[in-house]
Symmetry: C2
Subunit: 154 residues, 2 copies
Amino acid sequence: MPHAEMNAGAGVTGPSPWDQAVDRIRAGGLRWTPQRRTLIEVLREREGHVTATELIARCRERDQTTTPSTVYRTLDLLEDLGLVRHGHGHDGREEYHILPQEVHGHLYCVGCGTTWELRPETGAVIVEALASQLGFSVDLSHVTISGRCAGCHD
Amino acid sequence: MPHAEMNAGAGVTGPSPWDQAVDRIRAGGLRWTPQRRTLIEVLREREGHVTATELIARCRERDQTTTPSTVYRTLDLLEDLGLVRHGHGHDGREEYHILPQEVHGHLYCVGCGTTWELRPETGAVIVEALASQLGFSVDLSHVTISGRCAGCHD
DNA sequence: GTCCGGGCCGCAATGTGTTGCAATAGCGAA
DNA sequence: TTCGCTATTGCAACACATTGCGGCCCGGAC
């Protein structure tokens, strides 16, 4: 029985990290469950940022019996594997960054409500400033900076 | 009947902003209530950062009947008056900054759990970087940056 | 001193995130 | 294939934050 996922394009650029998820999970003596499968299916269809609430809703579309606690715990697990990262949006709600190819911070505009990713070179300025002045090593992935974007100056 | 608060040291450095709170509130047609009095008494004993939860607990020490909703609404009111500012801590919980003399961001160390205020000159670097590169004007008061402090590098 | 209007309080309900616990079920071993 | 260990689930309860609403009481008017 052919199964599309079994030969997921393992090209020169590398296979989708999600394809390794099953093995990575099992490698730690952890288990591959339907609930985890559902969440990962949802995640691989999306990119960028998602709120926990949205993920729960999408999982429930596929599996009515999805419970929040399971989703949160699975997300914790995936974060340990580096497949997602969580941060807090401008209002303090949990936000998950899917497949962070590179660690980045976020900007939130209180004017238009948009969220942008912080460009690496801009983030670097912040990281370096704090490192040199205070010896503080920033974890950019957890940073959301509020303010007003260029188009929203009152 | 002498009342200590009536002549609170209005010296050259200016009276405590809290002393003006009553008038500021009344000036807007708003009311001076026992609940608001309790919260302000709690606030004036503290400085720096407090979580909403802690404030509620301290209010309850003085007044068993304190309810969360009242505290949150009073804090909103005080924020309008500029007496407090709220932000989100590293874990997304509400944190209130008492009497922000100057707007400042925060650093949180995931190693030791300490929170520091961001020195103005360091904050300025961040503000300027984002302003010049992206035209984004940062509201530092709402920023909490996570990472590891100098003493916690694994 | 009393009245009256509207701001405010406390309750209750909702949404979001977290945790303890008993029962379930994945998966390696026999 | 069956067994057994234990990771994981789902429930329930809790914690924090927020909001709507009926009734209360602050404070100015008389």
